[in-house]
């Protein structure tokens, strides 16, 4: 099972907060996005984390991972 989270404006654009998918294949981040965000192209500026570490859309996700998509950060 893979847990997928969306934050801030991206959560609103995608209309999803958190979802879980079951998969037996090894998927890239980009494939996971396409699978869960039906029709919405992956935004250029999107930031991606696997298990709370920054990564990119070519990274491979494995069972048990937590994937997060979010817009540019604006803290501080």
């Amino acid at each position: 099972m893979i847990k997928i989270k969306f934050f801030a404006s991206l959560r609103e654009e995608v209309g999803k907060n958190e979802i879980q998918i079951e998969t037996s294949e090894k998927l890239t981040i980009a494939k996971i996005w396409n699978q869960v965000c039906d029709g919405i192209p992956l935004p250029n500026h999107v930031l991606i984390a696997i298990n709370m570490e920054y990564t990119n859309q070519n990274a491979i996700v494995k069972d048990g991972d937590e994937v997060a998509f979010f817009p540019p950060v604006t803290g501080g």
Binding site: F7, A8, A49, M52, T74, G75, G76
Partner: protein, 141 residues
Amino acid sequence: MLVKITENEFNPWKYLQNHELQAGKFGATATFIGTMRDYNVGDTVKSMFLEHYPNMTEKYLQQISDIALQRWDILDTLIIHRVGEILPGDNIVLVATWAGHRTPAFDACRFLIEELKAKAPFWKQETLIDDDTRWVANHSN
């Protein structure tokens, strides 16, 4: 090293006063405090909601604190960051560094706030005077 995310209003000076290093062992303390303004890009802002990615924020802030402690000749670091609903005048972030000398203290303090601004997973949503809300688009200088 201290990293803390808090939903409560905090007084940075009290945090600093209570974060005592051993007298005589440090010569320089550099701090930065970010405080909510009541204006942004030309508009009056009534309040703000600070969303974050729980656990990743702490993890990321600990990582940059580790890097600072390795890269500069400093003795300690402290980062406090507010989340949730906040009002103008409320403090958003406190960064502090302690060192023997001022150059590493300043450089590490600046590094921590720049890294935090660039990559720590926080997002600001402003509520304007007419109750419209908007996501802040980019971190400023």
